[in-house]
Symmetry: C2
DNA sequence: GATATTTTGTTGACAATGTCAACTTAATTA
DNA sequence: TAATTAAGTTGACATTGTCAACAAAATATC
């Protein structure tokens, strides 16, 4: 390996993770793309969520999120309800179908997570996370 | 952190790495996008390289690579020369300008790599790579 | 309280990236 | 020799990401 092995390893894991999630989720059969997955997860895990919350959290363009939300509403995964505190924005919440998808996503994420952790002890995982945290900070500084 | 912390950590590092490389390279000023960087690096590190080698290595669509190569030739970064062993394909090689870009990319990669490794001992880095390798294999199996 | 500024969300236009299928030419297999 | 496979090119199109203009509402400033 060359001196870029860390980044290569990281990219390789990220790529494999994406592929594994995609196939484990049967994402294409469900009509889910990666942005759908991120949005549904986020909405699922948050109390009251607006489009702008998603924009902030995912760091995406608001135009992109507006179109994504529109699409997910027409898919009957989400509904909008008035935000009594701010008439410009609206709360996004999952329909039953959206809930089911979000639950499936969460379930698949844990399965993939378990798969990733195979053959590793708790100490190794802890050490990995610790070092990864340092690397992450190194890059951000 | 939740039970998806490994994947979150990985994605966070990958994202930071991309941003850091991009700004360290001054990629936009040079007219480089991420596929350019990957292709130039690959050609730089390989003996004799054809479009199909890039397709295989990067796992991309051959149409995408054909257009990328065409663009890089028109940028005067690459040239094509006949492959005496197979008249269907042609060898891609870097022009002087392409060499300079590839060298700059390699140099920037080492700098970012050094930055990533700050505050970590050789043992920690070795351990990180070892565990990352296991995770990577877990996902592939 | 009226006015100016900022924020949320929508839309149009478009750039960048990725994908699929048809096709040509050359190499390989049967 | 004929059929199949492989390398590369091109057209068409889907997906994703970005920028700017805009309306409506909230907030700040005077």
């Amino acid at each position: 390996m060359d001196n870029h092995s860390i980044s290569n390893t990281i990219f390789s894991i990220a790529h494999s993770y994406r592929l594994t999630m995609r196939s484990a989720l049967k994402a294409s059969e469900l009509g889910l793309n990666s942005m759908h997955v991120k949005c549904l997860s986020y909405i699922h895990n948050s109390e009251a969520c607006t489009a702008n919350d998603i924009v902030q959290f995912l760091g995406r363009d608001k135009a992109q999120i507006a179109r994504l939300v529109k699409e997910m509403i027409s898919n009957n995964w989400l509904t909008k309800t008035a935000n009594p505190e701010d008439k410009r924005s609206q709360f996004l919440s999952l329909t039953e179908e959206g809930q089911a998808l979000a639950a499936l996503i969460a379930d698949t994420q844990s399965k993939v997570s378990i798969k990733m952790k195979q053959n590793l002890s708790d100490e190794e995982l802890k050490e990995f996370s610790r070092i990864a945290g340092i690397i992450s900070n190194n890059l951000k500084s």
